[in-house]
């Protein structure tokens, strides 16, 4: 599998991943012997997305909005409650673990915490070689070669193969995590908050690395993050999630220029800008209260209790995702789920 030729990358227009009506509910159980289900956490509720080869989709939202759960469902680290995941034209949402195995190399994940995601007892060389040994058919010499190649690719010295994770800084560990994810020539990489545990100066290095790797290897990314600045920098399209639903999805620049959903507007206005004058001048929308519980999400539009534009209809009817694309090419495919969309000429 490691000998897959690089030329087989699909042309950029091809759909690599199609997620339809994905649902993930976590049951809440009570009782010692006879466990009854007393409630459900609606972590991801009816989410559909499409991802083309070579594209980066940013997933943003506050903690608890279901962005990580969505990522884990796509990679089948979690079982779906409903919906389908089509990867490379194949439905992988119902495959057994065994049948899934050949696909595992195609979709890889980079985790948030570079301290917790690397086994402290294994040497870096072993960590990166593990996927090759499990999935590949290469011999030891080939594996050693590939590990060196991967270390160089992510900007680490190949001499470091025999070191342990604790000998590296946070940024370097995240590079090791990236190298491991790249080992099997994946098509899709799901990066779950890959830079939020890192310091600002190191963050920029890792983002640039991910950018370069995408250009070099033609990777497709799902980039999960809560930092809207970082997401804008890496993404082609961005999906904003709130309480398990996508409330707005749009080409990256269009989302920042013309947010349609009030939640997106509030989220953008809360991002601190490192410029005292601009910060003093701009009007911040401070959202009241916290995100409601996903166990019993609000009726109608889930954002309505915190929304300053909410009217009666918002608490009764759930708004569908509808097209609010602008006239120009750059904002095509701008969808939002709101009864009172902002910034739309009507």
């Amino acid at each position: 599998m490691s000998s897959r030729p690089d030329e087989t990358f699909n042309p950029p227009s091809e759909v690599l991943l199609r997620v339809e009506h994905l649902k993930k509910y976590f049951p809440i159980k009570r009782g010692i012997v006879f466990q009854r289900e007393v409630g459900r956490v609606h972590a991801v509720d009816d989410v559909s997305i499409e991802l083309r080869t070579g594209e980066t989709l940013g997933l943003v939202g506050e903690s608890g909005c279901g962005k990580s759960t969505l990522g884990r469902c796509i990679i089948r680290l979690l079982e779906l409650t409903g919906g389908t995941v089509m990867f490379d034209g194949k439905d992988i949402s119902r495959l057994s673990r065994r049948a899934l195995r050949p696909m595992r190399g195609d979709v890889q994940m980079v985790f948030q915490d570079p301290y917790a995601s690397l086994n402290p007892r294994k040497r870096v060389g072993t960590i990166i070689a593990d996927p090759l040994r499990i999935h590949g058919d290469s011999n030891r010499r080939q594996i050693r070669e590939r590990v060196r190649e991967l270390l160089e690719l992510v900007g680490l010295s190949p001499e470091h193969v025999n070191r342990y994770p604790h000998e590296f800084s946070g940024g370097q560990r995240q590079r090791i995590g990236v190298a491991r994810a790249l080992a099997l020539h994946p098509k899709l990489i799901i990066a779950d908050e890959p830079v939020s545990a890192l310091d600002v100066s190191i963050r920029a290095q890792v983002i640039n690395l991910l950018d370069d790797l995408q250009d070099e290897l033609g990777l497709t990314y799902i980039f999960i993050a809560h930092d809207l600045g970082v997401v804008r920098h890496v993404s082609d399209r961005i999906a904003v999630m709130y309480l398990g639903k996508i409330v707005e999805i749009s080409p990256a620049e269009a989302l920042y220029k013309r947010p349609v959903h009030p939640y997106t507007e509030a989220l953008l206005s809360a991002v601190p800008i490192p410029d005292p004058v601009i910060t003093a001048q701009r009007e911040q929308i401070v959202l009241e209260g916290d995100v409601p519980s996903p166990i019993a999400p609000p009726s109608g539009c889930r954002f309505h209790p915190r929304c300053k534009y909410a009217t009666e209809i918002c608490s009764q009817v759930e708004p569908p995702l509808i097209d609010h694309s602008g006239t120009d090419q750059a904002s095509a495919g701008h969808l939002a789920a709101c009864h009172h969309p902002l910034n739309v000429g009507r």
Partner: protein, 346 residues
Amino acid sequence: MAEQLLEVRNLKVSFRTEDGVVRAVDGVSFTVSEGETLGIVGESGSGKSVTMMSVMRLIIDPNATFEGEVIYKGRDLMSLNQAELRQVRGSEIAMIFQDPMTSLNPVYRVGWQISEQIRAHERVSKQAARARAIELLQAVGIPHPAERVDDFPHQFSGGMRQRVMIAMALSCSPSLLIADEPTTALDVTIQAQILELIRKLKDEFGSAVVLITHDMGVVADVADRVAVMYAGRIVEMGSKHDVFYDAEHPYTWGLLGSIARIDRPKPRRLTTIRGLPPSLINLPPGCAFGPRCPQRFEMCDQVPELAPRAAFDHTDACHLDPTIKRNRRDRTIHPELVEGTNEQSA
């Protein structure tokens, strides 16, 4: 000008470890005036937390050694005994910590924890202290404070717990509030709420605030003056406007450049600070930022003094001539905005 509240003179904190002496804080001096907000910015390991923890005398480690003076309202805090310190802590200087999950005691009710502090410093009845606790919860924006006062910390969300921490810190109307990364663990929308609250309460209670953060955006929002720390030293200090618009130290440039800003056109690549922060056991000779600095020249082999170079109350620790820096700065902070840029490294 307001009266000087706190003066830290040449504070040095080092820890003896198996690998050698860690110079966590290496000669830090600054002042805080009444009612002002000082933002201390720096990456992890730059010594910003250790500095303020030492001011509070909260570091109890037999391997730690302290040097220097911390003058608070004319008294040297470094020479006080535990009983005297207890008078200062809480009632004169209060502190909010980063993680609101671990800084509240999970087995005591929230109201009890607030009134404990009031009763430790003032001779009031339990009932009166409880009534004050409810008032404080109201002041920090907890809905239905009379009912929530008897809740346990786990019944509160992260943002609400941080509000409780703030209520507790303000319970004795301290003259100085130290906030150590108060919003780092929170979502942006909640961060905006908490920063708004700190600003409001500062006006109401008239406390001075020292805000420790790694986020330049947060500083731009709430600070009056800014100190930038690197490897245990302050490398630049001045008014917010000086530091943001007239940054003198190449490290500050790097920090400003590596942020993915949402209010600017997207740069093709983020500016990075090359390399890693130095080990505090073996600091590089001369300027600690030297090995990572693209502007490095011969003089950098000597440790630069923190001195006013550009303006009277704007100090920096960089040997480079301010007039030369003018030309190089914009190229470093946002090369894409400067036309006709050619990559330059020394």
